[in-house]
């Protein structure tokens, strides 16, 4: 059975890609077959795993716009149990190109039906918007994991995201659930961090992961080497945080 988890938040820079890449990599390290899908035209998850596409290479753009089979586009990463469906900058046109398409919100869901059996977990990294790429991801997912940065603007944007999730649950994906809210870039020395984290816990209660991702410069350095944190610096706080998150998710899944 495959579980599809989308990592979404329209607020920019809250740690979506860092969470998608490192959660998927840490999951793979426990030998669970995992796929990461990069639905962001910035292709940060793709480069964060050390993959550089040539102009002629197929990407998720071809799956979404030209109905190319997802399996033929998926490639291996440096980690044995982690594959990736890479993005490319051509995806930047997809938001507009998808507008007139038939059943435009369910294209990804249909495309994934051919790969579902081969992975236990599929993680989808989203762009910082609530457009058709994020809607496709929410429609294809079982659950949504929401990274929330410990900043005021990040808190403010949550109601808009929850509205969108409710709309998707009503019209496109009745079984979509919230996997949880993940506190990211937490800095225990800052009042702002502690206050925002407290507000998130007060509001979302048990839906907030116990695991908190601390601000850790190693998480920012790893992508410049094209490596997830577990390969770049396995003893860093960042690697420890994401391994704990995997443990918490697997325990929760029972």
């Amino acid at each position: 059975l495959t579980k599809v988890i989308v990592i979404a938040n329209q607020k920019g820079g809250v740690g979506k890609t860092t969470t998608a890449v490192n959660l998927a990599a840490c999951m793979a390290v426990t030998e669970i077959p995992t796929l990461i899908i990069d639905m962001d035209p910035q292709a940060n998850a793709t480069s964060g795993l050390g993959i550089e596409l040539e102009n002629s290479d197929k990407s998720v753009y071809d799956v979404m716009i030209n109905s190319v089979d997802a399996e033929s586009v998926i490639r291996k990463s440096d980690l044995p149990f982690l594959d990736i469906l890479p993005s490319s900058t051509r995806l930047v046109g997809a938001e507009i190109e998808l507008v007139p398409a038939l059943a435009r919100e369910t294209i990804l869901k249909t495309a994934l039906s051919s790969v579902n059996g081969s992975y236990e977990y599929i993680f989808i990294d989203c762009p910082p918007s609530l457009g058709l790429l994020t809607l496709n991801s929410l429609t294809a997912a079982d659950t949504v994991l929401v990274p929330v940065q410990c900043e005021y603007f990040a808190l403010e944007g949550l109601s808009q995201l929850l509205n969108t999730i409710r709309l998707v649950q009503k019209n496109l994906n009745k079984t979509l659930e919230v996997e949880g809210f993940l506190i990211t870039m937490f800095d225990s020395r800052l009042n702002l961090s502690r206050q925002v984290a407290e507000e998130i816990r007060d509001y979302f209660k048990e839906k907030v992961f116990e695991t908190v991702i601390n601000r850790n410069v190693k998480l920012g350095e790893a992508p410049s080497y094209g490596k997830p944190i577990i390969l770049y610096d396995a003893v860093s706080t960042g690697a420890g945080n994401y391994m704990n998150l995997v443990r918490e998710m697997l325990e929760h899944a029972g």
Copy 2:
């Protein structure tokens, strides 16, 4: 004469809103008539200036989609020489609603022709994408100011942004120029920060502002009080950095 500067970068969380709000506020403090336009559906610049819209209030959405006169939607801020054309979450649908519109990239430029004479500077805050809201802003602008966070992913995204700027210069706005690249969230204690800042200066040379915006928690606290930094904590590093940026821009405009 009015100068229109768009603050753009499709990478999320690099300091676009923080720069738009605080640059506009510091400009207004020197008694230069200034307008800030919030083109982001997240409406962070609007709330960052303490403005809460009622459902019935008009916003930039009505200017873009219902041809409402911009002047009738503009409102005053807490600062005497600073006005704002506020955003609302209704704007989230605009990217799709604008696709079939006639001359869809020039709607904002046309709308601004009625307000041009009343301000010396107009700053436009963009969402983290290269869609029709950002294209409208680039088409309406004289120059573009690019905040660049001292992180690897932020560096990576610049070539996509520069491609888009070139396309706009060729097809929509021949006179568009780059105002400059602004290094944001700089932390002198981190190698990553110093390395990325050096790469930005090596690559963009004199196009990079002398002024660097340091990481300063006060900049993150101010929006929760609905105030720009100059009103929240005028003696903070953040306030000093943005006042310096205003001085540098005015000297450059000489």
